[in-house]
Subunit: 119 residues, 3 copies
Amino acid sequence: MTKIRRIDPGPRLSEALVCGDRLYTSGLVADDGIGPSVYLQTKDILRQIDSLLQKNRADKTKILKANIWLAEIGSFEEMNKAWDEWVVPGQTPVRATVEARLADPIYRVEIMFEALLDD
Amino acid sequence: MTKIRRIDPGPRLSEALVCGDRLYTSGLVADDGIGPSVYLQTKDILRQIDSLLQKNRADKTKILKANIWLAEIGSFEEMNKAWDEWVVPGQTPVRATVEARLADPIYRVEIMFEALLDD
Amino acid sequence: MTKIRRIDPGPRLSEALVCGDRLYTSGLVADDGIGPSVYLQTKDILRQIDSLLQKNRADKTKILKANIWLAEIGSFEEMNKAWDEWVVPGQTPVRATVEARLADPIYRVEIMFEALLDD
């Protein structure tokens, strides 16, 4: 029987969970204090997924899929600057980026990930 | 060879399908007669996923992931009221909620689920 | 140990990747020269996924899930015309379609797929 192992399960949602050999994350947003910079918010989200992966003995080369929502699509290149500095060329996930208003206007970017966990 | 078992397959899309130990749903919307209340539309969608899960010998604690689209992000707390009344604290899925115009303006909320089916 | 096999891995993202028995694609958009027709852009995206599936010994009946973003939800039926001509009735995937501004305004439709690869 396959187990679901939840990471930071809250009353509404879990920050992430592991099922089989997959890690799924909620839509991650930057820490509140980061300010409005899309570049800095993206860097903070990527730091969070790095940390989640590391705690599960994986790393960013195991990310399969990323869904990115930008509050303003005009910040596409600013988000990409943080992304391109971080991602490992040749070991990149699939990705889709679209504009969407997010739950709180202080967040300018939100990213949901799926990754492979494998021993 | 892994089979795909489709649930309510239509000419355009299937309401849900099972592949391996995963249940995938289309973006579910409320029944047409529900009216414009986001709270009631969300309750109706959650009733639909409960029914889908039950017919496949699972329940809401096996939901892995939910993608929620709101026609107006201002209805975030109204959607959450229905969600929070329904979800099992501590056994919550990952989730991302963003604003998006939906295919028909009578629908104010749409949710796509992925769940674990396991015997 | 499960391998990730990337298809057209770029420095930013991979067009698609295979992990276990699943094919994941990035958000696919039409070739630049297609022009603004949502019908023709959708047809071009569906041609791309057909090609990706064929190269991996699969076909469109193995698509599990499609996420569709339309730059204008008013083009829903125009997108569906191309979709309905292409999809195999009774063997349809789950699907969710919402409006979202896309990264480049020349693209009017973007589709992200997940499919079963099975020998």
